[in-house]
Amino acid sequence: MAKIIVITSGKGGVGKTTTSAAFGTGLALKGHKTVLIDFDVGLRNLDLIMGCERRVVYDFINVIQGEATVQQALIKDKRVENLFILAASQTRDKDALNQEGVGRVLEQLAKDFEYIICDSPAGIEKGAHLAMYYADEAMVVTNPEVSSVRDSDRVLGILASKTKRAEENKEPIKERLILSRYSPDRVARGEMLSVEDVQEILSIDLLGVIPESQAVLNASNSGEPVILHEDSEAGQAYRDLVDRYLGVDVPHRFVDPKKPGFFSRLFGGN
């Protein structure tokens, strides 16, 4: 049975697309057949992050409207086995996505894939709603920052009430927190909400902490999911996150300030 996982957040620019690309690629690297779907109609960018923008012929909307088959629209990743991308369309027609059509495409993909990763657009409008509607699980990407945490909490409320599982009184969507763009040094200085703060407020399981990392920009410059940059902290944090998701007990790294010496610890320097 395929698992449908939505990567959501409410707020824009927190790292949903970065996470979708890294997480999906990570699952595929572990041998799981995975498809990434971009729900950000009109502002697609998953194809850019995955570096397949020039290979998009047909998109999600084309499939929904019957202008192409799923097979025609799926883009097979050139680096990683078992990994496919379904691009969003650049059309400006907001009504191009509809619940019935999305359901049909997901059902078809579910026959072929183990994991279906839905990269949600920002906001709580139609696109975001449809990205989460059919989900079995949700990854709520949050930055340690007031507006992001508030939006995440709103999204949790919507996940619990406006989704298929909620409407049909099925087992609720499994929600997990991904805390991204984390700066342990700033947390230590009391300038940034800590993992514990955010977890306490949102009270959902923590799947991973992704540090603020220059590697993310470098990776997006070259159209590679950052998880393929194995020497980077963000890449390693995403690898840990995938392992943890798959049930391996991996401790959280990159949550403490970088190895303070004995004296700086004693005298509170930073």
Binding site: V146, R154, G190, G268
Partner: protein, 92 residues
Amino acid sequence: MGLFDYFRKPEKSSANLAKERLQVIVAHQRRDNADGPDYLPQLQRELLYVIRKYVEVDDDAVNVQLEKDGNVEVLELNVTLPDRKPEALDAD
């Protein structure tokens, strides 16, 4: 936390401030989200608006809840008035 931190003024860090604000925001949001019908938050805001024409009350002075008891639904409305008796009540 270093040794010297313990001697610093126990001044609130900005992260602490963020956390306290969030606790309030989230509590409100969850109350708004609670199972009730979609119109409840708006009803609550409008009631607050009307009440404020007459009495100065806090942002969270109005609480609206829908209670279900078998087949009966009861709309429960709670308004917390400020301690001192406001003059505005006597007017009109």
